[in-house]
Assembly symmetry: C2
Homo-oligomer: 454 residues x 2
C-alpha cells in the first residue's frame, strides 16, 4: 500500500472551535489604542467587526460552538483527508512516519475558507451588506469571495499590486465569484493616495492593502472588514484542522512527536498545532511544534517581540507580536501569503513561551522540497506550503540520521494550481534565493511605536 | 442544509471495471487495417500497447478485475464525492433534483487519472520503459505524467502547439512531475516534419499530436503509446465513476431519470453513463442519457457514422465512429479537451442504437452556465465540464416548465484551475461564439477512407 488515507465521516466534523486562550497560563498582552496607549475595548473594534467576532477575539472559553449553518457549508469539503506519505518516506529512506493533512481539497484550494465562511456568516447575521479585505497571493481573497457569494454579501478585495499584475488568474477566479478586485495601493482611499503621492510606482504590500481595506470599512456603516489571518478569532476558526488530525491519528493508532506548519500570519499553523499544544498545556501529551517561515521575511526567527501596527498606514490598534516593523516591505519571493511583517499575537505568545520552535528556509530549498513532494505524493503544494514540506523533510532526515522512528505531522495547507508561474520559473532555473534583508529590517524596527515598547 | 454530500468508504471502491460490450446486443463493428480493409487482430496493436490492454480492448467479459496496486493508488482520491446541488436547484427554482459527481478532486484535477494509472501499471508490468502520448488542454498529459512518475516510467507528451503556447502552466505542471513536453507539430517525427513542410505555422491539432506520439511508440520496442480517451479500454477504466454513482444514489434513495455528460473523445461520458446503460440493457431500470458537445466541433450531432482514422497522418487503424473527418481542424474555442474530430466507437454505437441522445451548445452559453454553477456551488468547472453543466441546467429548466420533479445526474469531470485565461476572457467579454463550420466539415468528410465506407 503506497498512500494511506484517513477519512472521517461527516458526523466527526468538530462541533466546536478550540480556543487556546483557555489553556494558556495567563492572558495575552493587551491590544493597545495607537493614540492613547491604553488597552482597547470591544467598542473600539465595533466599526470594523460584528460583535460576535469581537467576542470570539477576546474569549477565554475553551470550546466555542460552530453555528450549524457554517458546519453545513464546511461539510462540502470537510473533513479533509489525512494522508500517510508512504511514497515520500520511501524516497527519503527514513524510519520516520510522515503524515500530512491536506487542506487543498476546499473549493478555493486552501485552508482559508474555514474562516471565510464563518466570518461571512457572522457578518450576514449582523446585517452587514459588504465586506472589504486585502489579499496577497490571492488564497484569502478567493476564499472570502466564495464565502460572500454564499451569504449574498458584496466583496471588495484590495490585492497587492505586484500580485494583481502577476496573477491575473487569481483575480479572474475572484471575479467569477462576483468579487471586485482593486490593485493596491489605489486612489480609492486616503491611505492609498498618500502612498502613491510619495511613490507612484509602489508595487504594494499586505500592510498597505490592509490600510486601504480597513479605511473603507471604518467609513461605511453597512461595511465590515475581514482579515484572513493574525487575529485570535481567525486562528480559532482554523482549529477544525488540528481537531480532525487528532481523530484521524487515533484511527491510525499514532500520535505526532513533531508537528510542522508554515507561518505567514500564523493561521494554518495555529489551526493544526493549537489543539495539540492545548493537550500539552493540560498535561495530557507532550509534542514538539515547529513553525517554518521564509528566510527573506523572517518574522519569528529574526523579528522583535514588541508592540507594532498591523498595517502600514497605522490605522490598526497596536498588538504585541513578532514583527519586522510595519514599514518593512519583503523582497519579491514567490510565497505571497508569507510576505507579512508581523505575526499572529497568539502564535508569537506561543513561541515566546517556549511552546514551539521556529525555522526559516530560502525559496530554492522550498521549491526543491515541493517538487520532491509532488513527485512522490502526486500533489503540487502551494509555494507557502512548500515551507511546511521542507520542514517536515528535514525532520525526517534527522530521524534517518538518528535512527529514530518518530511520527511527523505537517499541514499541507493548499495546492499550487494558481502558482504555476513560480514552478515554471523554478524549473527554468530563473528563481534565486534572497539575502537576509538585515538593513531594511533594522530600519523598519527603528520605527516601532513608543506605546507598549517604552 | 445547502449542499449534500454522499461519500463512500474505501471498501466501496469498485473491485471491477464494467464492460458495456457484455450487454450490447451484438459486437461492435470491427476495427479495420487501413491498408487491407480487413479486420485487425491483437498482433497488429502489439507495437503500441501491452497485451493486457489489448485484451481489455476486445473483451466481452462484463466485469474485469481492477489490479490491487491500481486500486490502492486510486484510493488516494477515490471514491469521489457525489453532491446534491441544493444551491443550484434553488437558483434555478426547479422542482428537479440535481446531483453531480465531482472528479476534480484527483491530483491532476479531472477524471483522467482513473485510466492513466491503470495504463501506466499495465505498461510497467509489461516491461515498458517509456510512454508517449498527446494532449490538448493538458488534462490528459498531466494525468499521464503523474501516473508515469508513480510507476517510474519516462513520459513524452506531444502537446498541441496552440495549447503549448497558451497554457505554459499546464506544461510546467507536467514537467514538475518529470514529463517531457514537445509542441506538436514538431521536427522530432516524420509526421510532424511533413506537416511543418506544408505549413510551417501550423498550430497543431489532437489528430496531428496523436500521429507523432504513435510514430515514436511504433518505432521503439521499449516504448508504448497511451491514449486518454476513445478506445474501449480507456472507457472501461472510467466506469468506476458510474459504479460509485449507483452506490451513492442508493444512499440518497434516488435514481436518475436523466444522466448528462460532456463528450470530446467520450471517456468521462462513458464513465458515468455506461453502468446505467448496462442496467437499462439488462432490463433492470430505464434511464435517459444525454451527451453534450461543443457546437463548433459537433461530432455526434452533425458528424457521419462511418469508418475513419483516429489521427491526421493516418497511422492508426480505421474505426467506425461519428466523425467530422480526420483532417477537420476545429476552431479555437476554449475547451481543448473537446476539440477532436472523432468519437469513441462505443459511444457512437450507443448513440446509433438509440441508447442516448446528443445535444450541442456554443461556448458563451457554456461559460455562462459554468459561472452560474460556480456562484451557486463554489466549484469552478473546467471549460469542458461546463458543457455538462449547461446540459443539466437545461434539463432542470425543462422540469420547471413541465412541473416535473425529475432526478438529474451529471458528471463534473474536472475543475478549471488551469483554464483561468478562458474565464478571464469570458469575464472581459472577449469570448465569442463560433459558427457551425459547415464547409470545413463537408470538405473533411469528403476525404473519408474507402475501406468500410464503400
Amino acid at each position: 500500500m503506497d498512500t494511506v488515507k484517513y477519512l472521517l465521516p461527516d458526523v466527526d466534523l468538530p462541533a466546536n472551535w478550540y480556543n487556546l486562550a483557555a489553556d494558556l497560563s495567563g492572558p495575552l498582552p493587551p491590544v493597545l489604542h495607537p493614540g492613547t496607549g491604553e488597552p482597547i475595548g470591544p467598542e473600539d473594534l465595533a466599526p470594523l467587526f460584528p460583535m460576535a467576532l469581537i467576542e470570539q477575539e477576546v474569549s477565554t472559553e475553551r470550546w466555542i460552538p460552530i453555528p450549524e449553518e457554517v458546519r453545513q457549508i464546511l461539510l462540502q469539503w470537510r473533513c479533509t483527508p489525512l494522508y500517510r506519505a508512504r511514497r515520500l518516506e520511501k524516497a527519503l529512506n527514513t524510519p520516520a512516519k510522515i503524515y500530512y493533512k491536506y487542506e487543498g481539497v476546499s473549493p478555493s484550494g486552501s485552508h482559508k475558507p474555514n474562516t471565510a465562511v464563518a466570518q461571512a456568516y457572522y457578518n450576514r447575521e449582523a446585517g452587514i451588506k459588504k465586506i472589504t479585505t486585502e489579499t496577497g497571493a490571492g488564497q484569502w481573497g478567493s476564499s472570502l469571495a466564495l464565502a460572500c457569494q454564499m451569504f449574498d454579501l458584496e466583496c471588495l478585495v484590495y490585492m497587492v499590486k505586484v500580485s494583481f499584475n502577476q496573477k491575473p488568474y487569481r483575480r479572474a477566479f475572484m471575479e467569477t465569484f462576483g468579487a471586485t478586485c482593486i490593485p493596491s495601493p489605489s486612489d480609492t482611499t486616503a491611505a492609498g493616495k498618500a502612498i502613491l503621492e510619495k511613490d507612484p510606482d509602489c508595487t504594494g504590500s499586505l500592510g498597505i492593502a490592509i490600510s486601504e481595506a480597513v479605511e473603507v470599512a471604518a467609513q461605511n456603516a453597512d461595511t465590515s472588514y475581514c482579515l484572513g489571518s493574525v487575529l485570535n478569532h481567525v486562528l480559532l476558526h482554523q482549529t477544525v484542522i488540528g481537531q480532525e488530525c487528532l481523530a484521524q491519528l487515533e484511527m491510525a493508532g499514532d500520535y505526532p512527536d513533531v508537528i510542522v506548519g508554515c507561518t505567514g500570519g500564523g493561521s494554518n499553523f495555529a489551526g493544526i498545532a493549537f489543539p495539540f499544544i492545548g493537550r500539552k498545556l493540560r498535561g495530557e501529551r507532550d509534542v514538539r511544534v515547529v513553525a517554518v517561515e521564509p528566510s527573506a521575511c523572517p518574522t519569528l526567527t529574526k523579528g522583535r517581540y514588541a508592540y507594532d501596527f498591523g498595517d502600514t498606514a497605522h490605522l490598526t490598534p497596536l498588538v504585541k507580536m513578532h514583527t519586522l516593523g510595519s514599514t518593512f516591505v519583503p523582497p519579491g519571493f514567490h510565497s505571497g501569503g508569507l510576505r507579512y511583517h508581523g505575526m499572529a499575537p497568539m502564535v508569537s505568545h506561543v513561541l515566546a513561551s517556549g511552546l514551539c520552535e521556529a525555522r526559516s528556509f530560502n525559496q530554492l530549498e522550498c521549491f526543491a522540497a515541493g517538487t520532491q513532494f509532488a513527485k512522490a505524493e502526486g500533489i503540487l503544494p502551494a509555494p507557502e506550503a512548500t515551507h511546511a514540506v521542507v520542514g517536515a523533510i528535514r525532520e525526517a532526515e534527522r530521524c534517518r540520521e538518528e535512527g529514530r522512528a518518530e511520527t511527523i505531522l505537517f499541514n499541507l495547507c493548499g495546492h499550487g494550481h494558481f502558482d504555476m508561474q513560480a514552478y515554471m520559473d523554478y524549473n527554468a532555473g530563473k528563481l534565486r534565493d534572497y539575502d537576509y534583508p538585515e538593513g531594511e529590517i533594522a530600519m523598519a524596527l527603528a520605527g516601532l511605536p513608543v506605546h507598549g515598547n517604552s
